[in-house]
Amino acid sequence: MHRQRWVTALVLAFGLAMLVGCSGSWAQTTPGVFTVYVGEPQNALIPGNTNESNGGEVIDALFAPLVTFDDETLDLTYDGVAASVSSDDRLTWTIRLKPGWTFHDGTPVTARSYVRAWNWNSLATNGYVSSFFFANIAGYSDLQSLTDGKPRGTEMSGLRVVDDLTFTVTLTSPFAIYPITLGARAFSPLPEAFYDDPTGFGRKPIGNGPFRAETEWTRGRGITLTRFDDFAGGAAKSPGMAFRVYTEQSTGYTDVLAGSLDIMVGLPEDARGTAPAIFGERYLTRASSSLTSLAFPLYDPRFADVRVRRAISMAINRDLLADIIFDNSVTPARGFATPVVDGFREDACGPACGFDPEAANALLDEAGFDRGEPIDLWFNAGSGHDQWMLAIGNMLRRNLGVDFRLRGHLQFAQFLPLQDSKGMTGPFRTAWSMVYPSIQYYLAPRFAASAQPPNGSNSAFYANPAFDAAVAKADAASSIAEANRLYQAAEDVLVADLPHAPVFVGVIQAVHTQRVSGVRLTPFGGVDYASVELLEVE
Amino acid sequence: MAAPVLQIRDLRVEFRQKKDWREVVHGVSLDVGRGEVLALVGESGSGKSTIAMSIPGLLPRNGRNSGSIQLDGQELIGASPGTLRKIRGRQVAVIFQEPMRALNPVYTIGWQIREMLQAHQELSKEQARERAVELLKLVDIPEPERRVDSYPHQLSGGQRQRAMIAQALALDPQVLIADEPTTALDVTVQGEILELLHDLKGRIDASILLITHDMGVVADLADRIVVLKDGAIVEQGDAHQIFYDPQQPYTQSLLKAVLSLSLEPVAAELPAPEPAETPAFDLDHGVIEYPGGRGRKPFRAIDDVTLRLDAGQVMGLVGESGSGKSTIGRAAVGLLPLASGALRINGLDLVTADAGQLREARRQVAMVFQDAGASVNPRWPIGQAIAEPLQLHTDLDAAARDARVTELLDRVQLSRNLRNRFPHQLSGGQRQRVGIARALALQPSLLIVDEPTSALDVSVQEKVLELFAELQEEFGFACLFITHDLAVVEHVADRIAVLRHGKLVETGTTAEVLMSPQDSYTRRLIAAVPVPDPREQAQRRRQRRELLGEAS
């Protein structure tokens, strides 16, 4: 009896520890390291295969981009690896690198590091989700089309190494904003060591950024990084940092309150209103580039009719949602872009993103929609989407008379693959933030036919030649201003087709403990980790 | 004449049942003289225990009494709880039927006696211990200095009873109430205790109020007798008068109904044994063992016993507890396997038979259990219970089964209306008849009857045995009659087998075994049984003393 009790206590303690571990609550902080909240990444940590926020956060700490952007104006600056990106005809671009940049393993960052990496990312046999980023480079199609499972080539004809610090990129058509796009992490270089063991690299990347991987990535736990002293961009202020995996926002928030998690970007639903008062100066906010929409599975015949999609969009009272559910910490979305980018238009969406239940019902009747069958609303678990999705469901029920089911049981890392494999049975939550400040990023990478999974994030599987043509025309514009105007025309196509129903534009919220200072939010929804100072408590 | 130590006048006892008070003792008056043994006799429900428990104020919470009970001049009815507490143990002590229940199992008997002494007297630990040893000597416990440190479970049944008597006598009470003091004991042990009580009578000053249903015990011990029926005194007088010249019809019928060991040659003819026929029951060098569990040797319940019972014969299997008589009965119905030897039922060897033959054999043997109430599923109406054998072994449909059940109920003289009653709604006697009816359902050729009457009142016992005799004559089944009661065996059995510790000690016809027992154990057994005849019992007492003194 005594022994049995002992065993029970042990199992209970072990179980509790596991449980606590699973939810990611970490009891103590590690000296010399500040901890950052993150969710489980979808894929291994390879820049070319990461296009979601969880993995992206980690990659951004390990890799330095080619080009950078001014924090306020979002103008292009050359504080990254690239010394310059220039072109005469907007077709062939010459990229010159700064000397002295090295990878974490000491090898130099050369032109070849980029060219080889970009070729690798574009290979259809690798199936990287960011391969779309290279679609505009001449010769991309050779690496994409497969005969007997083998691509026609392994090197794009448009990429050419000139010397160690220079390479040229020839596009398939002129693209005015090309330098801006180079800020995306998909364009990161890869050391030679990568090709010997890509899988191992995915667990412990060797990047060229301010922090290097100290440990491997452990599923459900995270990764610890140390300062890369030879970082050419200026050594990080903190000797180390760590990413800790959580499955529930509320758990992370509790840990920040308790002081055992240092930085958290994105607050649980019930903390959004109360956090400013609790954290005071340690509460950070800035305008977000994040647009949250309800994407429609266009492969599902139920949602193939645009009238159905418009009806659903018009049945959602976005103002009420922002007010009641979000305490006005978000703003209703009225277009496919966000206010922070050039080319944004107020109310681009028009009545399709307004609230008009009668018109919505009329459209639904016209389309002959089967109201008897409930609509499945999909979203990822643990990130506080339950209440607003539930509110949307209630609105559909009340305003359209059609019932709904919530499908919010999957974690992000399982949710994305299901989208990519056409597994959505109804509208699904999707959010998009820019990786470079251009309206173009909200259009082509999301809605181009060539961006359909597995090569991109067009998870609605939208394909409209008219849209692709409009985008191509904008890409070919002679100036950025003209390009933006033409991108807006492409946006209009989307408004007419409504492959997504834009819902709200978020705001970036973050909180941190007293252990750290100098925490700055980037315009891209992350934190500038290199400038975070760790204050060791006596 | 010296004043009586206990004077009871017009005692009335009532019990509350739901909201009403019912009187169960109606104005009883009696005296208990100093140093005398007064027996309260009666059947269950007569009120004898209620009266006795009124004296030390041990009635249950829903009881109340009125009238007068004077103990040496002190009025006990209406006395304060404090007074009564002082009385108990010091002036009035009680011996219960089950010593294991009265003795606390976690303390040594010495401790318990000491505790009692020290609660009422100023004694040091050593003095109290000395007195405890003295008391144990008084009750003839061997090696009292050693035994005083024993726990109750380390003592035998008889020794426990002695210890309890010692505890009761610790404070020299004036009245000792003995509530069925020997009923739960084995025959020989009962004999020893009766011997002890008789001895004590001479040695101590206390009066004994003896409550019992056993007229033999009364004949052995009592000076005066009070006969009770339904809470009122029917007759009282001194022992000789009651036994030899009862006045009241109830007393007369009570005495007549008592089965006693007459030890006279039975006039009835015994059927001549016919060895040519297959015996109904044939146990040949049977050994039955209970597994001992891990590392322990198996326990031999039956050790090389050979018994033979012919068709239509009744054999009494006699023995004390642990003798193995019930074990043989269970083996006969197939509940226990033989470790070695052969067991044949109507010629069929149970050990080597196959499943089909065994099933057939089970039809021919039936068992009547000791506690018939417990041998029937408490959730089944008795009609269903009686029909169970029919259901399991015959193809009769429901209607046919019902008819047969009715038939059986008639046979055992139970009203047909009772078929839908549940066991706990019947009296003990009725339950026993149900057991018999069920046993007869398949018309067995061998009936095993295990202590069928030991849980019954005297008058009921008489009727059940009568019924049994009738049925046996009518159906002609052979019967293994297992009992510890020699008086019963004398009346029903043709042959007797005596068992002791799993071995067969003696066997023969009833007359042979009872009149001229060969084995010393048999002789002790017979001597230990008290007969309800004071004069005769006085003679037997001498014999008993000799024989019980032999063994140790």
């Binding site: - | 209620t50 197939g334 089970r362 706990h424």
Partner: protein, 314 residues
């Protein structure tokens, strides 16, 4: 003949019922009505105030669970208007409105169905497991008993909530059925022990020996004799356990492992309401109240049942 174990009807073999008790028994039992063991228990229960209180509440909750629309006055709990969100109790909304603008009273009423269904299903599941395993272990003893008892011990090492949590995390569907299954799988052990010891006691009774002597098959003995008599201690335990299971479901849902929106369950209501506790405490109060009352009702009933069915009671 062993006189160690008390037989079910309370008669001690070995001698006539000794004086005092038997006389009293005779007197008290004079008015015998139809009664079975259950019938007698019912008579006792009828007069027990704890049982009555618990029973009334339990019956009320069951009625609410079976006819929720009746009690909710026809108000649809899912008819939610966001403009009415987070209102305090008023004449229009007796329990106020929740975060989504749904009538809270209707939601709490409808929550009864889920909670009670899970409670009932869990009890049934547990009973099935416990009765089967307990009867086999108790009746056959020996190696069977050892194996089954060790098997039970293994499960004992896993606390109910923890085990249910792990199981539910692995399964994708979180319906009433799977939650009940998870609770049953980790909650059957004590009931099994009860059944087992009860079976061991009954197994030694004479009527079982009598049935064995009649060569009844094992199955017949188990189903007709052993099980009906061994059930009573388990029944009162299961009634109490029902309250426990209902509370466990609420806990699981509260922790996010049980049911999910838009299922209507008290645990879910408490979960959602607790984040707004300072501004709208009634969101937690009402479902918590109903939950506590229901759990308490079953525990009271179970307690009273146990006393009533206990043969050793005075």
């Amino acid at each position: 003949m062993s006189d160690e174990l008390p037989t079910p009807t309370g008669v001690r073999p070995g001698g006539p019922d000794s004086g005092a008790e038997h006389e009293l028994l005779d007197l008290v039992e004079e008015n015998i009505e139809q009664a079975t063991l259950w019938g007698e228990a019912w008579k006792t229960l009828r007069r027990n105030p704890m049982f009555l209180i618990g029973g009334v509440i339990a019956v009320l909750m069951t009625l609410i669970a079976v006819f929720p629309s009746l009690f909710a006055g026809g108000v649809d709990p899912r008819d939610c208007d966001l403009t009415d969100a987070r209102q305090w109790p008023s004449a229009a909304h007796w329990f106020g409105t929740d975060l989504q603008g749904c009538d809270y009273y209707a939601n709490v009423i409808h929550g009864a169905r889920i909670s009670l269904s899970i409670g009932l299903l869990s009890v049934v599941g547990t009973m099935v497991l416990a009765v089967i395993l307990g009867t086999l272990a108790g009746y056959f003893g020996g190696l069977t008993d050892s194996l089954l008892s060790r098997f039970t011990d293994i499960f004992y090492g896993v606390p109910l909530l923890l085990g249910a949590m792990i199981l539910l995390t692995v399964t994708e569907e979180r319906s009433v059925f799977t939650v009940s299954l998870a609770l049953s799988i980790f909650g059957w052990m004590t009931a099994m022990r009860l059944v087992r010891s009860s079976v061991i006691t009954v197994k030694n009774a004479d009527f079982v020996a009598a049935a064995q002597a009649l060569a009844a098959t094992t199955r017949q003995i188990l189903t007709r004799h052993i099980m009906p008599n061994a059930i009573s201690p388990v029944v009162s335990f299961m009634t109490i356990a029902m309250g426990g299971f209902i509370a466990s479901e609420a806990t699981l849902t509260f922790l996010g492992i049980g049911l999910q929106a838009p299922e209507i369950s008290w645990g879910l209501q408490i979960n959602v309401g607790q984040s707004r506790f300072s501004s709208a405490p009634y969101l937690v109060f009402f479902p918590a109240l109903f939950l506590s009352l229901t759990v308490m009702a079953f525990m009271l009933m179970g307690d009273a049942l146990r006393d009533a069915l206990d043969p050793d009671r005075n």
